[in-house]
């Protein structure tokens, strides 16, 4: 799409700044997820504590971003694509903030698990984590580049993550049925899996807002029918 610039270069700069801030915030959340997962797989609880400490930064940046968007709404009174861009940005930053919280949840469970003997090698969880990180990246790339194809990829990945979550759940169920001593650990792992699945949901939420931004159509709360 041919991109025209605003007559007001200040306005142009403000919008660009929102993009940059969102990319940065997205990178912070990805890093938090990665670190929380490393804490689990490498049985290093320092990583997890770092995730918890750094969540303040994510919260702070989310609040600042939201404030910037509200300022633009008030002072620039954006219309059309600018309006859709700003409302989308506000939603995205909210999703990223929640993703940060889920990384913290994962970190907390990792600390618990690290104090207990290893139940099983982690195979599917890291796969899930790398999938959700890719979803976050794709949904943000879709936003920055107004790319509908990438939003579709996010939707596809969400399905895979859902399936993995269910598979992990079933597998852990057999552990618990076999040996009740595994129940506590199995539940922690399930909770981690559930948090990853919720992160995938938030990424899908971002992608849906991007679809709205590009097409003007809301796809939330309905099955996507892009063929």
């Amino acid at each position: 799409m041919e991109e025209r610039k605003h007559t007001s270069s200040h306005y142009e700069k403000e919008l660009q700044e929102i993009k940059n801030d969102l990319i940065y915030l997205g990178a912070l959340t990805e890093k938090a997820i990665q670190l929380a997962m490393d804490s689990l797989t490498q049985r290093n609880s320092d990583f997890a504590r770092k995730v918890m400490a750094e969540d303040d930064e994510i919260d702070k940046r989310d609040a600042q971003l939201e404030e910037k968007c509200i300022r633009i709404l008030a002072l620039r009174q954006p219309t059309a694509i600018d309006l859709r861009f700003i409302t989308t940005a506000i939603k995205i930053t909210g999703h990223l903030e929640r993703i940060g919280d889920m990384a913290v949840n994962i970190a907390e469970k990792a600390i618990e698990l690290n104090q207990l003997p290893r139940l099983k090698p982690y195979v599917d969880l890291p796969r899930m984590a790398s999938l959700v990180n890719e979803m976050i990246r794709n949904s943000l790339d879709a936003f920055i580049n107004e790319n509908l194809e990438l939003t579709q990829k996010v939707h596809e990945h969400e399905q895979v993550v859902d399936d993995l979550n269910e598979q992990i759940f079933r597998e852990l169920l057999t552990f618990m049925l076999d040996d009740s001593k595994t129940i506590q650990r199995a539940i922690f792992i399930m909770q981690i899996s559930k948090n990853l699945e919720r992160i995938a949901d938030h990424s899908k939420g971002i992608a849906d807002m991007v679809i709205y931004m590009i097409t003007g159509k809301s796809v939330r709360h309905q099955e996507l029918s892009i063929s």
């Binding site: 041919e2 025209r4 600018d82 859709r84």
Partner: protein, 252 residues
């Protein structure tokens, strides 16, 4: 004609001498709606507005092609009286232009001349001023000069003057561009009231104003109608990229 449509333009071209100011305009205006005409300076908004009540007739060397139907009659057909058309299709201009007369006579002058509602002029004056939400401010000074009113009051007086002619349609060419925010808000409020009875076509350079008060918006560029859509659509997701560039300030 569809009962909801009050004016219909079919393939209208308009020329000032050799220069074409409007190109192949086809559009319908809906009854009891507010239609906003937007577009960059010189795109032909005022020209189009003046075309609708034959004000362009007053300019030498102009020429119209195509059809402009007002209630099924071509307003440019020779057997229609332009004065009668201007009575039915009133106009309010950018700068308030009261006559150098009393407030009362500003309103009464036209009806007296045209014998509109001649039964009771006092009543007509009061009614028109009330419709223009000016009555309370001027009811005790009706015999003072209109020139002493504030700009915002003068503009509402001009609206009252147009309403006193009992028009069907009110054309407004940037009616608030010379007014402060409060007076502007009053005129905008008035427009929302008036559309219950009248059809309003308004030219504005204020995008937020178009968004606030109009039901439909038409975007013009270089004498062409680029997009004509529901206002909500135009300001959230216009169909044409050029429209989007314009209303978001990415033009020129």
């Amino acid at each position: 004609m569809d009962a909801n449509i009050i004016i219909k333009l079919k393939n209208v071209n308009f020329y000032y001498g050799e220069n074409r100011a409007l190109t192949d305009i086809t559009m319908n205006y809906r009854k009891n709606k507010v239609t906003a005409l937007i577009g960059p300076s010189g795109c032909g908004k005022s020209t189009l507005l003046r075309l609708l009540n034959r004000m362009n007739d007053l300019i030498d060397g102009t020429r119209v092609e195509g059809e402009i139907l007002y209630e099924d009659k071509n307003i440019y057909s020779p057997d229609l009286d332009p004065v009668e058309i201007r009575r039915k299709i009133g106009m309010v201009f950018q700068k308030p232009n009261p006559f150098p007369k009393t407030i009362y006579n500003n309103i009464a002058y036209g009806p007296k001349l045209n014998r509109v509602g001649s039964a009771n002029l006092d009543e007509l004056v009061e009614q028109s001023l009330k419709q223009a939400v000016l009555w309370d401010e001027v009811k005790d000074i009706l015999n003072q000069s209109a020139m002493n009113l504030s700009g915002g009051q003068q503009q509402r007086l001009c609206i009252a003057r147009a309403l006193a002619m009992k028009p069907d349609i009110l054309l407004m060419d940037e009616p608030t561009s010379a007014l402060d925010p409060i007076s502007t808000a009053k005129i905008e409020e008035l427009v929302e009231e008036l559309k219950k009875v009248y059809t309003i076509i308004i030219v504005t350079h204020n995008m937020q104003q178009a968004a606030r008060i109009s039901d439909e918006t038409a975007f013009f560029y270089l004498g062409n109608l680029i997009e004509y859509n529901k206002t909500e659509k135009i300001f959230t997701k216009p169909d044409v990229k050029q429209t989007e560039d314009y209303i978001t300030g990415r033009f020129g």
